[in-house]
């Protein structure tokens, strides 16, 4: 009984914190329509700030609790909220679902970056509970600390305050109106700035309160751990369907109590060791389940913003040409760059391959997935376990499993390409036979000791893709009915689950699988004690382990092959159906589309690509750890940068991967080097170095994520002008100059820096020159409509141009009357 009471009290206290945090989330969501992914990070930041004021010598240090509280909760937090609304969130009105998701994610990463920056160093930062650790009172034998008491009082107080706010103030009226009939309020010009600002301030305060209250429950302040702790509250908000505050409060308590009782039953995770991380994962599991049980919204029709987000599809010929260009450029570069750069570029390209899975899933099919790297990580683990790893009993069982997976994959995905009935059976048989032969004969993995092999094989990559595909299908199966934000949250939950339950798994799991394996059991030590060594491939006499440049070129060829396949797919019947589903699910349904099966197939396919890319990425790195490179945070950053690059384009994935893996590191290094060279400006350059390393990706996301079609396509558009006949000369001369510079570098006339400094300007001058050249020749085109009558005069020619742009049939009458006016 005493135990029960104690665990109930603990559960209620944490639950109350979740309630507070999730209520803040609901307030901002209902008034602004934006799910504030940064909520957890704001709470985390506030906890650090509070700790800084209370317990650290810097900044005046050792403030008394009430003053520090007032400062953090009622000055800093609302300012953060208001600034967020003013600078970032306000611009999101009317943007697409993806943008509404990406920008808050970028803000979250920014907060994480800032906190890591300000509070550097490994020093232990331990916040204390209110009135100290020993201040407690008791009911019977159960003790209740004052901190817990304060939490519960705060939650009750906030609940009352929110109720008052909802029913007695203008912002409350707006909020309730929005909940009752969102369309109507929008039509009546609702969501005025002022109440939006108020709600962001309130939301931010709630996050801060939660952060400050929850931080003493952890051993010491940790940026990611604390952020995730507040993220747990998201489940409670979903419990209330993101609008019902009382339900949200109850949801928070349910989550808190569940975790606490689980701790009680499992003896804080010691009873079933392989479930030990469920302690921290339970809220996320609950989030996933609540999402699945939630009644779904009606089918969405297309929105005006989908007009803005259109992705052109390049022709196959162009894609193949670009592929050759890319491989040639990379090969050329590999001759002149150091192996460090080669390694970075290879990393970028393997990341870009993982990014291609997002192009397929999100860019083509419009389905959000925040767990790209969770799938990649599973691919890496699969490659390790089934190819090079040591813990799985291999042999005939391995071949059987691979073949079975191939059969499943075939039946799930092939029908999507129009293969049915007899042709489907033939295709599936052929494919599984291929896999079987690959596994059994090609790589000689017929039985004993794959563990002894020291290179990644082709069958390893294929099986990694197949296993990831099956995991993708398994996750997608229940989640398939979700859409938009809800699907994003479900995949987010999955990513956290993989982070904790898979990457942190230290137990050897033993299964008894009938029919598979020559031994009775399949035993897996999933993450092999925190690090997996995955070797490079080795075939056709090339050892990719020794030659980084070979790996680089190999990876770039694979990237190009998958890209061409994706473009082909986008142009096929299947691709058109994905596009249709993205553009208007409602229309698709009324034309007879079974969207679940289509979604399931595309999820499976995308997971396969991610798993393949993940295995390749890991093989390139040689070692992966539980906290690098496939964590939820890295995944979010990659997703964000791919959106910045343009998630509907192959080039967007390339941009995202390369920027993610290289750009910020290179920029950081650049400033770091300057800091070494010019000691007197040390502080400035170190600042810039940290700035780019810690905040670069997040700021890129905030600044550029709003551009609907992405940066990469804009750059390509810039170069498009060079295709015109009159600009052939510019291309010729420019390419020659760059080639010459490259040659000088190859024969070591000068170093890499000079090569870059000479060729980059030429590269960027080319489109500019082309533009100027074309404009000289042809005045009437390429004028922006906005500038008509300001920059230049209306001409009849220009008017007919506008007519064509706006698809208005030209109207002779109107023209006549205008001429008469003159």
């Amino acid at each position: 009984m005493t135990e029960f009471l104690t665990f109930t009290v603990v559960g209620l206290a944490t639950g109350a914190i979740y309630s507070i945090a999730s209520a803040g989330l609901v307030v901002t969501y209902t008034t602004s329509g934006i799910f504030n992914f940064a909520h957890g990070a704001i709470g985390m930041f506030s906890a650090f700030l509070y700790w800084q004021l209370r317990w650290d010598e810097g900044w005046g240090g050792f403030w008394p609790a009430p003053i520090a509280l007032v400062f953090v909760l009622f000055i800093a937090a609302p300012i953060i909220g208001i600034l967020l609304q003013l600078i970032v969130m306000r611009g999101l009105e009317g943007t697409s679902e993806t943008t509404k998701l990406v920008i808050p994610i970028a803000v979250m990463l920014a907060f994480i970056g800032i906190t890591n920056w300000v509070w550097q160093g490994a020093e232990q930062r331990i916040p204390k509970p209110f009135f100290g650790r020993n201040a407690k009172w008791s009911i019977g034998d159960a003790y209740i600390t004052w901190h817990q008491t304060i939490i519960v009082i705060a939650a009750i107080g906030l609940a009352i305050a929110l109720r008052f706010l909802l029913f007695n103030t203008k912002i409350g009226v707006t909020m309730r109106a929005v909940v009752d009939n969102p369309e109507l309020v929008e039509l009546n010009g609702g969501r005025p700035n002022r109440s939006a600002m108020q709600s962001w301030a309130i939301g931010s305060i709630m996050a801060a309160i939660a952060g400050v209250l929850i931080s003493p429950l952890l051993g010491g302040l940790g940026v990611l751990a604390l952020t995730l702790l507040v993220v747990n509250a998201y489940a409670a908000a979903i419990f209330g369907r993101l609008k019902n505050l009382p339900l949200t409060f109850i949801g928070g308590l349910v989550i808190g109590l569940s975790v606490s009782y689980w701790n009680w039953i499992s003896k804080t995770g010691q009873k079933w060791p392989w479930l030990s991380e469920l302690r921290t994962t339970l809220p996320i599991v609950i989030l996933f389940c609540v999402l699945l049980l939630l009644p779904q919204d009606r089918l969405r029709g297309n929105r005006p913003e989908s007009l803005r987000e259109q992705f052109r599809v390049p022709s196959i010929r162009a894609t193949i040409l670009w592929s050759f260009a890319l491989v040639s450029i990379i090969s050329g570069l590999s001759l002149i760059i150091s192996s460090k750069w080669e390694a970075l570029l290879t990393r970028g390209l393997t990341m870009a391959i993982i990014g291609l899975s997002m192009v397929l899933l999100t860019g083509y099919a419009g389905e959000l997935n925040l767990a790209p790297l969770a799938f990649a990580g599973i691919g890496a683990i699969a490659a390790f376990q089934f190819d090079v790893g040591s813990t799985v009993e291999t042999g005939p069982g391995f071949a059987t499993l691979a073949t079975l997976l191939a059969v499943g994959f075939g039946f799930l995905v092939f029908p999507a390409f129009g293969l049915v009935k007899r042709r489907l059976f033939i295709a599936v048989t052929a494919f599984s036979l291929f896999v079987f032969i690959l596994v059994v004969f090609f790589d000689g993995t017929t039985g004993t000791g794959i563990a002894s092999r020291e290179s990644m094989s082709l069958s390893g990559l294929v099986v990694a893709a197949l296993i990831t595909a099956s995991v993708g299908a398994t996750v997608a199966l229940p989640a398939i009915r979700l859409r938009g934000l809800y699907l994003a949250l479900a995949t987010f939950a999955f990513a956290i689950f993989v982070d904790k339950m898979v990457y942190k798994q230290r137990e050897t799991l033993t299964f008894d699988i009938p029919l598979i394996g020559d031994s009775e059991d399949l035993s897996i030590n999933l993450f092999n004690n925190g690090a997996l060594n995955i070797p490079r491939p080795k075939f056709w006499g090339i050892d990719f382990g020794e030659k980084q440049w070979a790996m680089l070129i190999f990876v770039s060829i694979i990237f190009c092959c998958i890209s061409v396949a994706l473009i082909q797919l986008r142009k096929s019947s299947y691709g058109r159906q994905l596009t249709a589903m993205k553009d208007s699910p409602a229309a698709c349904a009324t034309l007879g589309m079974n969207m679940r099966r289509l979604k399931l197939s595309v999820f499976t396919l995308a997971a396969a690509i991610a798993g393949f890319g993940g295995a390749l990425h890991a093989s390139n790195l040689r070692t992966i750890q539980e906290d690098y490179p496939f964590t939820i945070w890295e995944g979010l950053a990659l997703f964000m940068l791919t959106v910045v690059g343009g998630i509907g384009y192959i080039s967007g994935a390339l941009f995202g991967g390369i920027i993610y893996a290289c750009a910020f590191i290179v920029m950081g290094d650049f400033w770091g080097k300057l800091a070494e060279d010019w000691r007197s400006f040390d502080w400035l350059f170190t600042f810039l170095q940290d700035f780019f390393l810690l905040l670069g990706p997040a700021l890129a996301g905030i600044g550029l994520g709003r551009n609907p079609s992405g940066v990469a396509s804009q750059i390509f558009d810039g170069f498009r002008i060079l295709r015109k006949r009159e600009n052939k000369g510019i291309i010729g001369i420019g390419s020659l100059l760059i080639a010459f510079s490259w040659f000088l570098r190859v024969i070591d006339v000068y170093n890499g820096w000079i090569f870059i400094m000479t060729s980059l300007p030429i590269l960027f001058l080319m489109p500019l020159l082309g533009d100027a050249n074309t404009r000289d020749r042809d005045q009437s085109k390429d004028k922006s409509i906005e500038m008509a009558g300001i920059d230049f005069q209306f001409s009849d020619e220009f008017i007919s141009f506008i007519d064509k742009e706006l698809s208005i049939p030209s109207n002779p009458m109107w023209k006549e009357s205008r001429n008469n006016d003159e």
């Binding site: 297309n302 259109q310 019947s573 034309l591 079974n594």
Partner: protein
């Protein structure tokens, strides 16, 4: 039961506390054009959403060719032969006009469903035929976003038509068309109807409704206030009051 293509029985729809459709019953007879008119906000689109399965009614049932389809998923209804267009256009904006129509076939072909569209030449011929009768041939390769609303509505019609539905639900198909286009459109509807497709038409253009419909239902504030032939409707007191009268003011 009866030989109606479509029978809507006692359908009610509530949004929160707001009753959008209130105990509506009506039917569409095979080989006819049935009209549904009423002021804005009367609940016409909501009723269409119920029939096509995008919305679950609070109460009542929908029968299609004597089969109860009230709780059938939208895509299954489509496969039974219910086609529709949307008042707020739902084109596939990333695709060209011809691809909008082609993907419609492909969607229904998915997992091997539709019979005649297996072979490529036949599909091509069908697409050409539909482009032809809707007069969209000249814009076949234009992107869906770049054509004017009037034509966009025709694309939606073509997209539904090529699936050879048994009934077509058209939600204000003539808005965005000029008078001359509307007249041609009326003839087109007649032609479609004569080829054996029943049509259920929501329309604001009175001339079009009166000229083409065999029977007209009038909806006001979610309830049916009158039913009858176009001539009867034009003389119906309640209708003049609620609808035509309101329009004159």
């Amino acid at each position: 039961m009866t030989n109606d293509v479509l029978a809507v029985d006692n359908i009610s729809v509530q949004f929160g506390g707001h009753i959008a459709v209130n105990d509506v019953s009506l039917s569409v007879k095979p080989g006819t054009i049935t009209g549904l008119i009423g002021p804005n906000g009367a609940g016409k689109t909501t009723l269409f959403n119920v029939i096509s399965g995008l919305l679950t009614p609070t109460d009542g049932s929908v029968h299609f060719m004597d089969q109860d389809i009230t709780s059938l998923a939208p895509h299954k209804r489509a496969r039974l032969g219910i086609g529709r267009t949307f008042q707020r256009l739902e084109l596939f904006n990333s695709l060209s006009v011809i691809d909008n129509i082609r993907v419609s076939i492909e969607i229904s072909n998915q997992w091997g469903h539709i019979r005649p569209y297996q072979d490529e030449p036949f599909t091509k011929a069908e697409i050409s035929r539909v482009l032809d009768i809707t007069g969209l041939d000249s814009v076949r390769n234009t992107m869906a976003t770049e054509i004017p609303t009037g034509q966009a509505r025709l694309v939606e019609l073509a997209r539904a038509l090529i699936l050879q539905p048994k009934i077509l639900l058209l939600d204000e198909p003539a808005s965005g068309q000029n008078d001359q286009e509307t007249e041609t459109f009326g003839l087109l509807l007649r032609k479609i109807c004569e080829s054996g497709v029943s049509i259920f038409l929501v329309e604001h253009d009175m001339a079009l409704v009166m000229n083409t419909c065999d029977e007209v239902n009038v909806l006001d504030f979610g309830s049916i206030i009158a039913k009858g032939t176009p001539t009867e409707i034009q003389e119906h007191e309640l209708v003049i009051e609620a609808y035509l009268g309101a329009k004159k003011q």
